[in-house]
């Protein structure tokens, strides 16, 4: 087997857009000497440094923790949300997964409810508004009972944790053929519906969050599980089924 190269030459097609209402398009850039040890975002750092040295504007892209937990990074790489590797965020993707001479198309998350702010940066405040509609348990500070007063089985706690692992990156929306936010919304509804603490607000939570989700202009779920495949935290579509159940149950049987 030939030794794999330690640096790569790449051709990048990167989306450039000055603002939400402005036209956008792809720019082509070439990078030589990209170390295979770099993360994808470090590769973009290098591109930006190169652009700066040429007196051109760097690309804006969202990033923060660079360890896969804050949910800030948000790129579609060659048509795949967060790139070609499963269960990671863009910041965790490393250049050794690309080959010398590759062409890489880099696009922002695309959905009407997630408008482009600039270049590769999108506005995800719609997701915050979905949470604000009911994605919490209403317990004021100081009013909590003793923590062990309410036992929760390990199986339930684990399943709730699986759902709660969502990092709110909106990758599910970006990957969905319909730009639906069902997996995001379902993750929170499911997390709180599973736990006994969440029971008092079950009836209104699913209804309020789905109503908000619809109003934000996200599409609907056609059960193709693209979201689950793109999710960096492997949140399962089983939670979407639970959301559907919660919603229908609350609609028919719920107390107002």
């Amino acid at each position: 087997m030939a030794a794999s190269p330690t640096t790569l030459r790449l051709t990048l097609h990167v989306w450039r857009q000055a603002g939400p209402e402005r036209p956008g398009g792809f720019e082509v850039h070439h990078l030589a000497e990209v170390s295979v040890d770099m993360s994808f975002l470090e590769m973009l750092d290098i591109l930006n440094e190169q652009l700066l040295s040429q007196g051109r504007d760097p690309f804006c892209f969202d990033h923060d923790c660079r360890e896969g937990i804050c949910g800030m990074c948000s790129l579609v790489i060659n048509g795949q949300v967060h790139g070609p590797e499963a269960e990671i965020t863009t910041c965790q993707l490393h250049m050794r997964h690309f080959a010398d001479g590759d062409t890489i198309v880099i696009e922002p998350f695309r959905a009407r409810a997630l408008p482009v702010v600039r270049d590769l940066v999108v506005d995800r405040s719609a997701l915050d508004r979905i949470i604000a509609a009911g994605g919490y348990i209403s317990t004021d500070a100081g009013s909590a009972p003793e923590a062990n007063a309410l036992p929760v089985s390990t199986a339930v706690a684990d399943e709730a944790m699986d759902a709660a692992a969502c990092i709110g990156c909106a990758g599910c929306v970006a990957a969905c053929p319909n730009a639906s936010a069902m997996l995001f919304t379902a993750a929170k509804v499911s997390h709180l519906a599973l736990l006994p603490q969440g029971a008092p607000e079950r009836d209104r939570r699913a209804l309020a969050m789905v109503e908000r989700m619809d109003d934000e202009g996200f599409g609907g779920c056609t059960n193709e599980r693209e979201c689950q495949a793109a999710c960096p935290k492997a949140v399962s579509v089983a939670h979407i089924a639970r959301l559907n159940r919660e919603f229908l149950r609350s609609s028919v049987l719920g107390r107002s």
Partner: protein, 217 residues
């Protein structure tokens, strides 16, 4: 309470739940329809089928059943249009590169197209045996003649192919939408859904194929 139900039906999940319910009922109808059609194979003169058809046509419940069936179709179609429009609007700028890594199947990716074809096929089917039904006592004979013609073979092959493809995604999608999902059963439900589409599709396809190859007589 009613207000809540009305709002639920207006929501994305409510619309899809209703689509799922109507879809499941339509699958029930298809199975019943297939069972009736299989009587065409019972005897070469088509007596069993004709007897079944006349019982059906003389039943006082038929208008109500037909109206119900029409309603199922209409609700399913109207909701499909509404959901599809919302889904289309939800992404205003398309990706330049796109690749699928979930459980997208030929069936799931073409639900709208196959749905439209099935609708057109349904209209052609109604035209053939309802609106433009040729004179004659034996419906079985009329069916055989129609399906044995090259145009019959073409129209009915395309129609049932689209129907079968549509159904491969139907069951699994409906169950998920109605919240009937247990972790671990995903694969089983996928297979059942695929099987339903293939079996119903092939079974319905057998009629034009058999009659075309065997000749009308």
């Amino acid at each position: 309470m009613l207000d809540r139900l009305r709002r639920a039906l207006g929501s994305s999940i409510g619309s899809k739940a209703l689509m799922a319910c109507t879809g499941l009922l339509l699958i029930g109808f298809l199975i019943a329809h297939l069972a009736g059609n299989l009587l065409l194979y019972a005897d070469s003169e088509g007596r069993a089928f004709d007897a079944y058809a006349s019982t059906l046509e003389n039943s006082p419940l038929l208008p109500a059943a037909e109206a119900g069936l029409a309603l199922l179709f209409c609700v399913h179609i109207v909701l499909a249009v509404r959901v599809q429009r919302a889904n289309r609007e939800a992404r205003d700028v398309a990706y330049r590169a796109r690749s699928s890594h979930g459980a997208r199947t030929p069936g799931s990716a073409t639900m709208v197209a196959t749905g439209v074809i099935v609708l057109l096929f349904l209209l052609a089917h109604l035209y053939d045996f309802r609106i433009n039904r040729p004179d004659g006592d034996s419906l079985a004979l009329i069916v055989r003649e129609r399906l044995a013609s090259p145009s019959g073979l073409a129209v009915y092959s395309i129609g049932v192919a689209a129907l079968g493809l549509h159904l491969t995604h139907a069951l699994r999608s409906a169950l998920q939408t109605l919240g009937l999902h247990r972790p671990g059963y995903e694969g089983l439900i996928d297979k059942a859904s695929l099987l339903l589409g293939i079996v119903l599709g092939l079974a319905f396809w057998s009629f034009p194929l058999v009659f075309f190859l065997g000749g009308a007589a």
